[in-house]
């Protein structure tokens, strides 16, 4: 197990390295904005570019990039979006908003999704199950931005319960801030509720029909006891890693929801950096997204082994 984890992590860094190399080469092939147009920040940017070796051959630049950015954590300064500011500190300042919205949406959607899934599985092939399954099907298929627009139109505009956009500022834990985050949380939540509910329903209904459930009932357990102690535990084996994976993935946020609700988060930073051609941001965020994606995959795989000791990862 330990060996497997080490192997996976080593592979992850290798993949990250390859992808970053590709990104680096491709970004370096793009034309650089002429430094003379930056006005008073011209000298600063010129110096920084000199330090990053912009005038040297690409291999030397790559060496500098590896040493300074990947190992030293210095990702350069922003040229277009936040003129002259350090890319890393801008990025760190964007994380709390994304994190908050996504954690709230997890808190909101995980219990609901599990409950709905369990209820549907227990009532399988009754009308409750049909209603829930249909709703799940619809909710999974409809794109998240359609919910976002629906929530924005009905809850924010027609009923005026919440503001149309998220409040700016850094007072993360006040009531007005919470209220302004709710629409985004709802819009994000629908999708994850339905996907969790679908998984839970499928797994639980499969477990409920298995032989050991019959045994549990015959040895005298009530239906509730048998379901909670035997069926639920087993059905959580594939579901729980998915939740864990989503917890890792929430860092990366949702680009489109952040745009619709004006959340000053990482996703917006990424989209803006693309439109403004701010390559330093682009490199940092690409590395970030890649790392998050790979890490989520590993967490999911490893957690299988922890949750269910019968599964031995990496064995043949």
């Amino acid at each position: 197990m330990f060996k497997y984890v080490l192997k996976r992590i080593a592979l992850m860094f290798f993949v990250l390295f390859v992808i970053l190399t590709m990104c680096f080469v491709l970004v370096k092939l793009l034309p650089v904005i002429d430094a003379n147009q930056f006005g008073k920040d011209m000298n600063l940017i010129k110096q920084r570019r000199e330090a990053l070796g912009y005038n040297k051959p690409i291999l030397v630049q790559y060496g500098i990039f590896l040493k300074r950015s990947l190992l030293g954590g210095d990702w350069g300064i922003s040229e277009a979006l936040y003129r002259g500011q350090d890319v890393w500190s801008v990025f760190v300042s964007k994380i709390p908003a994304t994190l908050m919205v996504n954690i709230y949406s997890m808190i909101f959607s995980v219990p609901l999704g599990l409950l709905l899934g369990i209820y549907a599985a227990l009532k399988k092939n009754k009308w409750q199950d049909y209603v829930i399954s249909t709703a799940i099907m619809v909710c999974i298929s409809v794109p998240s931005y359609v919910y976002a627009l629906l929530v924005q139109y009905f809850l924010c505009f027609k009923l005026k319960w919440f503001p149309l956009q998220m409040n700016s500022g850094t007072d993360w834990f006040t009531l007005p801030m919470f209220l302004s985050v709710v629409p985004a949380v709802l819009a994000l939540g629908f999708g994850s509720i339905s996907s969790l509910a679908r998984y839970t329903r499928a797994e639980l209904s499969e477990v409920l029909t298995s032989d050991f459930m019959l045994l549990a009932r015959t040895k005298g357990l009530t239906r509730a006891q048998a379901t909670v102690r035997h069926a639920l535990r087993n059905s959580m084996v594939p579901v729980f890693p998915i939740i864990l994976g989503e917890f890792v993935g929430i860092l990366s946020g949702s680009l489109i929801i952040e745009k619709i609700f004006g959340i000053p988060g990482v996703g917006q930073l990424y989209v803006n950096s693309i439109t403004a051609l701010d390559y330093n941001f682009f490199m940092l965020l690409s590395a970030f997204y890649t790392l998050i994606g790979l890490a989520a995959g590993i967490v999911v795989d490893i957690s299988y082994g922890f949750i269910d000791p019968r599964i031995r990862m990496g064995e043949r």
């Binding site: 993949v15 793009l30 931005y145 745009k259 690409s286 890649t290």
Partner: protein, 513 residues
């Protein structure tokens, strides 16, 4: 009776052969044999929701194919013609469903000045923008101004009223000829604007009456408008329909420019001018957007593009994935390990990053659409390859493969003739299920503006939604129809794909009934 009972001594001549001439064959099967695909078809048809989804899907695809053909008089087609900019944010109007509120009208509250301005349009043109008055002339206690308010239902197609156009002599004459022919008034008399103090009032074509300096109408004692029509000056010998109450002295154009290149500044009514330009009354089933472009044709065009893109992505993925997965699965060993690592690395690249890089690099060289297609294909085939690989591992060691190999079949023949057909069902299903994902990603990318496909003739569902978001609160119809379309498309594609998956999965056989 007694003779008949005597079974033991039946005379020999009473026996005869049952069927002397014909050779008895095995009976032919009454029913036709059911093959793999036919069986899948039968089981698919049993699944009611998938059949409904297939029907909805068919409708949506037909919509995308035929709407741009049927509505070919799409008035945004001419790249140089920007007349459509005058017809912004018109509400959905469909004469078939006018009774259900699909009539291009909306309810609003106007103050007295605006209400009177609408009345002026009605009085001049005979077409009333105010369809219905729910509550007239009431005071709003919460308001500090001493004006009164009207709750009305407004026809968005008429409320824009007049615009000023500057025409050449030929165009001016053409409109006059058309007026004579059809009897529909397009050009309305020019206005003597010298009494208006503010520049914006002079340029406002809807003012043709005496106003206070603020632009509110000054009514006479009977509550009528006092016209300020121009009665002197050159109007290029206007010789066509005249409005009611014109004794022949009204002038219909302001003439500027030299005598060789004269231009005529005329007041035209947007509604009838549309009729003149495009030959039909303005009526947009889904309304128009922020720029005055027809939503239904743009939506259909966008859907056409999305579907085509998704289809080609899924076909290309299928081909690449099948070949890659076949080679991986068939040869196994070192080949498999190396190829798996390659696809591992590729699958680690976030899709957003790939698309962005392709857009930055390729969009200028090969165009936006091929760059998008490349981006989808770069990482998209991996799933297809891994499912093909699985199937190959399942089948490649079976006896019939060994038999075929013993008979001397080549590797390629074994792969594509003997093993691949077994994987076809699952592959088709995953190819279908790729389509909604591609449509979703494409609309997300265009929504975010990372990929920009918008032009006067083409659009994408994502950019339609994002451009409509700014007017979500005032003109929700701009977003409504694209959102409905893409939701329906995604739902029906997913249901259809799931039905297909269940139908192609032989292990589910017989479990339904």
């Amino acid at each position: 009776m007694k003779n008949n009972m005597d079974f033991e001594n039946i005379p020999k001549e009473k026996f005869e052969f049952y069927n002397r001439d014909e050779i008895i064959h095995d009976k032919k099967l009454d029913t036709k044999p059911v093959g793999y695909f036919k069986d899948a078809m039968i089981r698919f048809c049993k699944n009611r929701s998938s059949v409904i989804a297939a029907a909805v899907l068919l409708f949506l695809v037909l919509f995308a194919i035929f709407i741009p053909i049927l509505c070919s008089n799409n008035y945004t087609k001419m790249p140089t013609d920007t007349t459509y900019l005058q017809y912004r944010k018109l509400l959905p109007k469909w004469s078939l469903f006018a009774w259900a509120g699909w009539d291009g009208c909306s309810n609003e509250t106007l103050n007295a000045a605006d209400y009177n301005a609408r009345r002026a349009i009605a009085e001049e043109t005979g077409m009333n923008p105010t369809v219905e008055v729910f509550r007239a002339d009431y005071e709003d206690p919460s308001s500090t101004t001493n004006t009164t308010y009207y709750d009305v239902r407004t026809d968005s197609y008429i409320k824009n009223g007049m615009i000023y156009l500057t025409l050449t002599g030929a165009e001016y004459q053409a409109i006059q000829d058309w007026q004579n022919e059809t009897g529909i008034q397009v050009i309305y008399p020019a206005v003597n604007t010298s009494s208006y103090k503010i520049e914006s009032m002079k340029n406002n074509a809807n003012l043709w009456y005496e106003c206070t300096p603020k632009g509110t109408p000054k009514l006479d004692k009977e509550g009528n408008f006092v016209p300020l029509y121009k009665t002197s000056g050159n109007d290029g010998d206007y010789d066509s329909l005249r409005i009611e109450g014109d004794d022949g002295s009204y002038r219909y154009a302001q003439v500027t420019g030299s005598s060789t290149a004269m231009s005529f500044k005329v007041r035209v009514f947007t509604y009838t001018y549309f009729q003149y330009r495009y030959g039909f009354e303005p009526s947009f089933i889904f309304g128009t957007n922020n720029f005055g472009q027809d939503i239904i044709t743009r939506l259909a065009g966008a859907a056409r593009f999305s579907l085509l893109l998704a289809l080609s992505v899924s076909v290309i993925n299928l081909v690449i994935g099948a070949i890659y997965g076949a080679i991986e699965g068939y040869y196994g060993g070192a080949v498999d390990i190396v190829m798996e690592r390659i696809s591992d690395i590729l699958s680690g690249v976030p899709f957003m990053v790939v698309t962005t890089l392709f857009q930055l690099h390729l969009a200028q060289k090969v165009g936006v659409v091929p760059a998008l297609l490349f981006a989808f294909v770069t990482t998209g085939w991996i799933g297809m390859a891994s499912s093909t690989r699985m199937q190959f591992y399942r089948y490649k060691n079976q006896e019939y493969i060994l038999a075929a190999r013993t008979l001397g079949a080549s590797d390629a023949r074994l792969m594509f003739k003997h093993i691949f057909p077994n994987a076809l069902g699952t592959l088709i299903t995953s190819a279908v299920l790729v389509i909604p994902g591609v449509i979703f990603s494409e609309s997300t990318l265009t929504y975010l503006g990372i990929v920009n496909l918008d032009s006067s003739t083409m659009s994408s569902i994502g950019s339609m939604l994002s451009s409509g978001q700014s007017s979500l609160t005032t003109y929700p119809h701009i977003i409504l129809f694209p959102a409905i379309y893409i939701s329906l498309l995604e739902i029906s594609f997913n249901l259809f794909g799931n039905g297909l998956r269940d139908a192609f999965n032989p292990s589910l056989r017989g479990t339904e009934d």
